[in-house]
């Protein structure tokens, strides 16, 4: 490993002053079931923040509210001081939030390069009639986006020979990389990763962890991830929020979380005994 990066120390106080995203008492009810209850959550700009918790703790539900796939029953979510509650998912992508999925969801019967270029949809202007006529501006834009997509593929480490393969034919680990490239193509300010190392072996996991850190630094991203692998979470996160039964159980630096008795009881301890 030639990882030259050093972990930037978290500076919570300064970060909270400049929050890129702020969730305020977010509650999500499905009928009688309360999936999220009064969740307060802050993501400092430029940070890598993790959301952890046992299965069914409401992590993905919370994620889906950030991306507009669900609308909170009550509470407010503000991205760069603008409320995003009630916006459609594509509006939110346009504002600068992109995501990946827990169970990889690529556009299987599209080529690798087309997947990434689709990710840049909101950053393109070509209208249907201009595309129909193939106006010069459309061609230029298309060429520029193709170039950018190639850069992104290189950035996430996908070999160029994959470009014209169908996304569904890629090996598993490469599919995760491709999903990441597709999300990055929308030039997000905030990147949401739903279990980016799920199903990966230790080697691939280490690569993915290094990649996320590198992307954050090179692209000025803020990263929020849901993760189950405690090694990944502790190694990568600057702040960690623990959800349990839809509520925030604890929030703090990795060290604080590791030593928090309630967290250990609810979550870490259980996992420690399992391992």
């Amino acid at each position: 490993m030639t990882d030259t990066m050093t972990d930037t120390a978290a500076a919570p106080a300064a970060a909270e002053a400049d929050a890129i995203l702020r969730a305020d008492k977010v509650t999500m009810r499905f009928g009688g079931l309360v999936a999220n209850k009064d969740v307060d959550f802050i993501i400092p700009r430029g940070g890598i923040v993790s959301l952890i918790g046992p299965n069914g703790a409401g992590k993905t539900t919370f994620f889906n509210q950030l991306t507009g796939m669900l609308e909170p029953t009550s509470g407010d979510i503000r991205f760069e001081d603008q409320s995003i509650v009630g916006l459609t998912p594509h509006d939110i992508v346009e504002l600068g939030i992109a995501r990946t999925f827990q169970n990889i969801r690529l556009f299987g019967a599209m080529t690798v390069i087309a997947n990434v270029m689709t990710g840049a949809h909101t950053r393109m202007k070509a209208s249907w009639w201009a595309s129909l006529l193939k106006l010069p501006a459309v061609r230029e834009e298309e060429a520029a986006i193709r170039k950018r997509a190639r850069e992104l593929l290189r950035l996430v480490g996908l070999p160029r020979r994959y470009e014209e393969d169908w996304a569904k034919n890629l090996p598993y680990g490469d599919q995760r990389r491709l999903e990441l490239a597709r999300a990055l193509a929308s030039n997000p300010k905030l990147l949401l990763l739903d279990e980016p190392t799920a199903g990966m072996n230790p080697g691939e996991t280490a690569q993915m962890t290094a990649l996320v850190k590198r992307l954050r630094d090179e692209l000025d991203l803020t990263v929020l991830l849901i993760e189950h692998d405690m090694k990944v979470v502790m190694g990568i996160s600057e702040r960690i929020t623990v959800l349990d039964y839809g509520e925030v159980l604890a929030e703090g630096s990795p060290e604080q979380i590791r030593t928090n008795p309630r967290v250990v009881e609810a979550y870490l301890g259980k996992q420690a005994t399992q391992q």
């Binding site: 998912p89 594509h90 992508v93 690529l106 556009f107 019967a109 249907w128």
Partner: protein, 570 residues
């Protein structure tokens, strides 16, 4: 009995059932009138032979779960068993026909049928011919799995093309006579089929061509790709130029009567291109596409025909066209908006309903003041101010087909096309990737409707008379079937599909009776053997190699280093 034999016998029984079917519905008898190779084989007896070959081919693909290793001889034996069973079933049919009176149930089960199936021999000799011949054909089918890929492809494609050339005698013969090439006609064709020499010649030519392409095609493609981009473009333009010139001359080549058929094919190509946007690109299964076709035809008829009950100042065809397109887009949105939330099967059923509703409305008493109700609308003027002859109506159709093909291919390779494809693959992920799915669904319906309406307008102007019942569900099914057959998403596929499904039945009058039967069989076989269609949309490679300066190995090495992977030197 060993498992592989059981399987082969079972496939043979299935094939035998198919052969019984084509015999008893009368296809064998009808096609007996047509020679495949004149004086040697009739198309009627080719049908059961094809079934034996197909079954043998299938049986020759040995399964892993059979008890033996898949060796070539085992594959051949398997095919032979399957083929022999087909022959056996037919022999039994002949025995029954000759000894029992069954023609009060199966009207075609007459001694004549037995005579055809037994090749004019007695039941004893004929049965042996059937069974041994079936085994040989089955083994031949199985052999396709044994020989190398290019050889198998060459043999199969050459056989199919030769059969088509023979079947298209009425068409090709007319073309040759039209071009005063009676020599060629006499040489190739005799009594409605290929002459033996013609057969050998056509087969050899096609086989040579296919084999050359199968073995050297990649190299040729590589050589083209190695050319500088501007030369590649010139080559491409040149090829398109030749195609366009040929298309322009087509009506003169094929003559008056067949231009009519070519025009019909063109109208379906346009219809297919439009439906392909909705179904192939955007993945919205629309079974009521005929509604757009009908709207286009009726708007044209009402605006241009002096006989239309409403709207008296008559416009010329081209004056009505803008209204047609606007009406199309509106109807597209009207149909699209309520079904935005529906997916898959539900969308299909609702659109199916829309199609039927449209037809009923056009036919109804209520709409009669405008649409003429059941009487329809007569004397619609042709698009060009000449007589309504098929050769001149062909040109507007060609014009719109080319326009539509260019438009559709530009859209396919654009931001819009990608958004549609993404929606087809996974709607909620497309939305989460930034695609406004509502907008793009409506856009697909609107553009698809525009293509369909123009097609309908040309149909009205071509026929000159429209009735609501021309716009039945079969039009939707035809259009859908032709894009499935040709290859979803591919523009040349649409053309090929239209030629096969709309063109062939027009040339082959014998087929008319069995048209839907053949449709069904072809679609089922396609779905099993080649679900992606005859010409699946291939990845466009040419334009992707424009700014390649970097070396792939170096690139991979770089990426490996960046992500901490061990660098593999090549």
């Amino acid at each position: 009995m060993q498992p592989w034999m059981k399987r082969a016998a079972f496939l043979g029984l299935l094939g035998g059932f198919g052969a019984l079917h084509v015999s008893l519905v009368g296809m064998v008898g009808t096609f007996q009138a047509r020679d495949f190779i004149s004086g040697i084989v009739t198309v009627g007896s080719v049908l059961p032979m094809l079934i034996a070959i197909l079954v043998g081919w299938r049986a020759g693909i040995l399964q892993r779960d059979t008890d033996v290793a898949p060796t070539p001889s085992r594959a051949l034996a398997s095919g032979a068993v399957a083929g022999a069973v087909v022959g056996l079933v037919l022999a039994l049919l002949c025995v029954i026909i000759l000894n029992v009176d069954v023609d009060w149930i199966f009207v075609n089960a007459r001694p004549q049928l037995a005579e055809i199936l037994l090749f004019g021999q007695g039941i004893g000799v004929g049965s042996i011919i059937l069974i041994v011949g079936g085994a040989l054909l089955g083994a031949a089918g199985a052999a396709l799995n044994v020989v190398s890929g290019p050889v198998a492809r060459t043999v199969t494609i050459a056989a199919i093309v030769t059969l088509l050339v023979s079947l298209m005698e009425p068409f090709l013969g007319a073309v040759f006579r039209n071009l005063s090439l009676n020599v060629v006609d006499d040489f190739l064709y005799d009594r409605g089929g290929l002459t033996p020499i013609g057969f050998v010649l056509v087969y050899a030519l096609v086989a040579a061509g296919v084999y050359a392409w199968a073995t050297r095609g990649d190299r040729a493609r590589a050589r083209v790709e190695a050319m500088p981009p501007d030369r590649q473009r010139n080559l491409k333009l040149g090829a398109y130029g030749v195609i366009v010139v040929l298309l322009l001359l087509l009506p003169l080549i094929v003559g008056q009567r067949l231009s009519e058929v070519v025009g019909t094919v063109g109208i379906y190509v346009l219809l297919g291109l439009g439906l392909n946007i909705v179904v192939g690109f955007a993945g919205l299964l629309d079974l009521g596409y005929v509604a757009f076709y009908a709207v286009g035809a009726y708007v044209t008829a009402v605006l241009t025909s002096p006989a239309s009950p409403a709207f008296s100042p008559e416009l010329p065809f081209w004056g009505a066209l803008p209204f047609v397109i606007v009406a199309a887009a509106m109807v597209g949105l009207f149909v699209g908006a309520p079904v935005l939330r529906l997916r898959g099967d539900y969308l299909a059923i609702v659109t199916l309903g829309f199609g039927e509703i449209a037809r009923e409305i056009f036919k109804s008493q209520w709409a009669q003041p405008v649409t003429g109700g059941a009487q329809g609308i007569l004397s619609i003027p042709p698009p060009l101010p000449f007589d309504r002859d098929p050769q001149s109506i062909y040109y507007p159709i060609l014009f719109f087909c080319i326009l539509a093909a260019i438009g559709a291919s530009s859209l396919a390779a654009s931001r819009v096309g990608r958004a549609w494809n993404a929606m087809r693959e996974d709607e909620s992920v497309a939305e989460a990737t930034g695609v406004n799915t509502t907008y793009y669904k409506l856009l697909a319906f609107g553009l698809g409707a525009a293509f369909g309406c123009v097609s309908g307008a040309l149909f009205a102007a071509k026929i000159g008379v429209i009735f609501a019942d021309s716009f039945n569900i079969l039009v939707s099914i035809n259009a859908l079937a032709l894009i499935i057959l040709g290859g979803m998403g591919n523009i040349f596929g649409v053309v090929l599909g239209a030629l096969v499904l709309v063109g062939l039945p027009e040339f082959l009058r014998e087929f008319a009776e069995y048209r839907l039967l053949i449709y069904g069989a072809v679609l089922v076989i396609m779905m099993i053997l080649r679900p992606e269609g005859l010409l699946p949309s291939r990845v466009r490679r040419a334009e992707l190699h424009e700014d390649e300066g970097e070396d792939d190995a170096q690139y991979a090495a770089e990426a490996g280093e960046e992500t901490g992977k061990p660098v593999v030197t090549t």
